[in-house]
Structures are given as structure tokens and as C-alpha cells.
């Protein structure tokens, strides 16, 4: 995993988990408070019921003629009665209670008594708050938060990896592009410098035809790299001059341009072009299209292989006997910086440019390839 990718993933996870945690904490808190209130309310309702029972009992006691009056007691609920001046009369606790005064964690309920049975104007029932259901609720919420935390951690990690994957792909391709660029520029520059050095060393004693040819090939390669990169960079901004173009003549011209490269690799070139095939195109677009196809066909051809160029009024076909393209790579081959094979130099922008040109002029591009046997690129246009 790249450092930047790891950093992005960690940042994403922190933000994701933090926001999820905050959201769940808020939801859990709302749920907890409402459920706790409901549980307390349930216990309060029991107090209300006990107060009603006590009120009925007071009425019966008031009417009783028994020498001793048994005050009802239902532990753990305590109760007491008070006169109209709120003075304590009697209660279930040993020590007198004060109306409305209870210790913390004790629920209480007060009710007025009318008429004053046994002289009681107020009755109060109290009960220690039963914490067990609230503790169970807290326990369940904690378990839920833990479970949700683990689940969202795993989900976040999975999502993070999923979101970071395209960025990782782009970064890797960009890194490879930079490496390829330096390599692609280094090779022709080295060739030029080496051959110039050789000419300088041997002076005028020898013929320098081969050195000059190498310098020419290297210069053309540099020129083509520059043209391709410029084309990609300015594709949408430069002014196109679409004219009727003689493709037959242009193919022949470009083949002359690439002859040195093909000869250097011992490739046998066969050209079968119909005369004067005319097509409405910008000349630079057509050059980029043909150059990239020819360059690929030479570059990925095997030494002493064949290159067959055929052109008629409907289509242009460039066929090589090179390394071919694997079937699974065929679908992605036209993407920017995508290379089916890294054995040769290149940026992986050639077919991307070809695809763009084809789309601009509504040309149909098809690639037929058999791995280790060769590739045929066909461009079809309407007559």
C-alpha cells in the first residue's frame, strides 16, 4: 500500500468512524433517555397505584371501631400521612418523614386526601428507584455501540479500500508514466549524444552514414514523443483545419518517416494502398493517427517480422506479426497510459490518441489480435 494511500485511508476511517460514532451516540442517547424515562414512569405508575390503595385503606381505618388500627405496609414501598398543616401523623418508617422531602434516588408521589380520613390531608408514597432495568438498558446500549463500532470499522475499511482503489490505480499509472517518460526521452537523447561523440572522435576519416541514420531515428522519436504529448495536452484547444486529405499520399509519406526505424529492426514492410483515397480530416490529426499505428506496429513487432499496410476507399488496415495483445487486455488497451505489454518503451498514450481521433471523425476502430502472433488494427470510415 502506498504511503499516501494509507494516509488517505486512515483519514477517511477517522472521519467516517468519528461521524458514525457521533451519530450513533446521539441516537443512543436519545433512545436511552426516552427509555429510561419510560422505565421511571412505569415505577411512578406503581406508586400512584399504591397511593390509591392507601387512600382506600385510610377510609376503612377511619370507619373502623377496632381498638388498634393496622396501617398498611407493602415493602419496599414506604408511605406516610400528614395533616393539613403538613405535620407527620403516621408512616411505615421508624423516623417521621417530611412531606415532599426524599433522599436522592428515591421516587415519591404525593396525593391530597379528602375528606381527612384519620386526619390525613396528604399522603406520600416513596420507593427507591429500581436501577436494575436502567443498568440492563445501559448494558444493552453499550453492547450495541460496541457491535456497531466493530461493524462500521470493518465496513469503513472495506469502503475506504474501495474508494482509494481508483486513486491508487491513477497514482501507479502516473508513476509509471513519469518513469516511462524519462526512459523514453533518455534513449533517443543518449543515441544522439553517443553518435555525435563517435563522429567527433573519428572525424572525417570514415563515412558516418549509420551514425547519422541513428541520429535521425532518435530525433524523429523525440519529435514524435513531443507531438504526441502536445497533442494530448492541447487536444481540445488547438485550431483544426479540416480539408480533403489524400490519405494514400500521407501513408506513403509517414512510412518514409518510419522507414529507418523499420529497417533498424529488419522489418519487411508491405504497402498495398489504393491511389488517391480522400478523406476529410485535419492533417495533424491524420498524422497522429497513422504515426501511432505505424509506431506501435514497428515497436511491438518481432525482429525481421512483417508489417502490412493496406488502404482502400473504405478502410485502413495496419497489421504486424508482433507480440499481440492478450484477450483480457483488449478492452482496456485504448485507455490513457494503458499498456498491454511493458517489454517495449512507450507511454501507453498511442492508442488513446488513435481512439480520440476516431471518435472526432466518427471512424470505427477495431483491433484483432492473437497473442504471440500479431495484431491488426482496422479503421473504417464511411465513403
Amino acid at each position: 500500500m502506498l504511503h499516501s494511500e494509507k494516509r488517505s485511508l486512515v483519514r477517511f476511517l477517522i472521519i467516517y468512524l468519528l461521524s458514525t460514532f457521533l451519530l450513533f451516540s446521539l441516537a443512543s442517547w436519545i433512545f436511552y433517555t426516552s427509555t429510561r424515562d419510560h422505565l421511571i414512569q412505569t415505577q411512578r405508575e406503581r406508586l400512584t397505584y399504591e397511593a390509591q390503595k392507601l387512600h382506600s385503606a385510610l377510609r376503612l381505618l377511619h370507619q373502623s371501631n377496632a381498638p388498634l388500627l393496622s396501617y398498611p405496609s407493602t415493602p419496599p414501598i414506604d408511605s406516610a400521612i400528614f395533616d393539613s398543616d403538613q405535620h407527620y401523623i403516621f408512616g411505615t418508617k421508624r423516623e417521621p418523614m417530611a412531606l415532599g422531602v426524599v433522599a436522592e434516588g428515591v421516587l415519591h408521589y404525593e396525593q391530597r386526601v379528602e375528606p381527612y380520613y384519620l386526619g390525613a390531608a396528604h399522603l406520600m408514597v416513596t420507593q427507591p428507584l429500581d436501577q436494575r432495568p436502567i443498568e440492563r438498558l445501559q448494558h444493552h446500549i453499550l453492547l450495541f455501540m460496541l457491535g456497531a463500532g466493530v461493524f462500521f470499522l470493518l465496513l469503513g475499511y472495506f469502503l475506504g479500500r474501495l474508494f482509494v482503489a481508483p486513486m491508487r490505480d491513477s497514482l501507479q499509472r502516473l508513476n509509471r508514466f513519469i518513469q516511462d517518460t524519462t526512459h523514453e526521452l533518455n534513449t533517443p537523447i543518449s543515441t544522439i549524444l553517443t553518435n555525435i561523440e563517435m563522429i567527433e572522435t573519428f572525424g572525417g576519416t570514415l563515412s558516418h552514414e549509420s551514425e547519422l541514420q541513428r541520429i535521425a531515428i532518435a530525433s524523429k522519436t523525440l519529435s514524435r514523443i513531443y507531438d504526441d504529448l502536445t497533442y494530448l495536452n492541447l487536444n481540445h484547444h488547438y485550431h483544426r483545419e479540416v480539408v480533403m486529405l489524400d490519405l494514400s499520399r500521407l501513408v506513403a509519406e509517414r512510412m518514409v518517416y518510419f522507414k529507418a526505424m523499420a529497417d533498424a529492426k529488419g522489418i519487411v514492410v508491405t504497402i498495398a494502398c489504393v491511389e488517391a483515397v480522400m478523406q476529410k480530416m485535419d492533417r495533424n490529426d491524420a498524422i497522429r493517427l497513422i504515426d501511432n499505428l505505424l509506431s506501435n506496429a514497428i515497436k511491438y513487432n518481432r525482429p525481421h517480422g512483417r508489417l502490412i499496410i493496406s488502404l482502400d476507399t473504405k478502410r485502413l488496415s495496419i497489421q504486424d506479426t508482433g507480440i499481440g495483445i492478450a484477450p483480457k487486455a483488449l478492452g482496456e488497451i485504448a485507455q490513457r497510459f494503458r499498456r498491454a505489454n511493458s517489454s517495449e518503451g512507450g507511454f501507453g498514450i498511442g492508442l488513446h490518441i488513435v481512439t480520440q481521433v476516431c471518435q472526432s471523425y466518427q471512424l470505427t476502430l477495431s483491433i484483432n489480435s492473437v497473442e504471440h502472433q500479431g495484431t491488426e488494427v482496422i479503421i473504417v470510415w464511411e465513403e
Partner: protein
């Protein structure tokens, strides 16, 4: 001899009863007026001993159906008593003793 005198004195005291008995309850008994029932009625309406005391004194000094705690039907059976001859202080003591005697707190026990 001393023992005989003590027994005679005790007999006199017990025979005469408490001042409350002499001043109030003896008549209640002879007229069969339910003393505790009266106290319960006061309790039901006035709640505090102070309020009960005040209302009882008011009735005893100026007996009338409007100041009585008993319903009008009660006076069909029992005649309206005359105003008390006791002075206010003594009457206050008697009423307090009456309330104390029938105090509900003394009879309440905790049901186990």
C-alpha cells in the same frame, strides 16, 4: 391503719374519675352520646388538633346546629346541650384532654 386510708383514697379517686370524665364523658355516657364518633367526625373535617380544639370550644361555648359537627338528624335524638359553665382555660384543658384521649395516633400500629 395507713393501708386502710390509702385504699379508701384510691377508691374515692377512681370512683370520681378524671376531670375530663367528670366534666364531659360522664354526661356523654349517661346520654349515650358516642364520644369517639364525635372525635372522628371532627378529625374527618378539620384534620389538625388545633383546628379541632378551636371548633370544639366554639361549639361548647355557643352550642348551635351551625357550630356543631353532628348532622341535624343527631339533634332529633339528642337535645342541644347548654352552653358550658367552664371558664375558657378549663374548657381548653378539657378539650385538649378529650382530643388526647381519642388521639388516632395512639391507636395506629404498623401492619406487618
Amino acid at each position: 391503719m395507713g393501708r386502710v386510708i390509702t385504699i379508701i383514697l384510691l377508691g374515692v379517686i377512681l370512683g370520681q374519675g378524671s376531670p375530663l370524665d367528670q366534666a364531659c364523658l360522664s354526661c356523654h355516657r349517661s346520654y349515650q352520646v358516642p364520644s369517639e364518633l364525635i372525635y372522628r367526625r371532627y378529625l374527618l373535617q378539620y384534620s389538625t388538633p388545633q383546628a379541632i380544639e378551636q371548633m370544639m370550644i366554639a361549639y361548647l361555648q355557643h352550642p348551635h346546629q351551625s357550630t356543631s359537627i353532628m348532622p341535624p338528624q343527631f339533634f332529633l335524638k339528642f337535645p342541644m346541650k347548654e352552653a358550658t359553665a367552664l371558664d375558657t382555660l378549663t374548657l381548653q384543658h378539657m378539650v385538649r384532654a378529650y382530643i388526647e384521649k381519642f388521639d388516632i395516633k395512639k391507636r395506629l400500629i404498623l401492619k406487618q
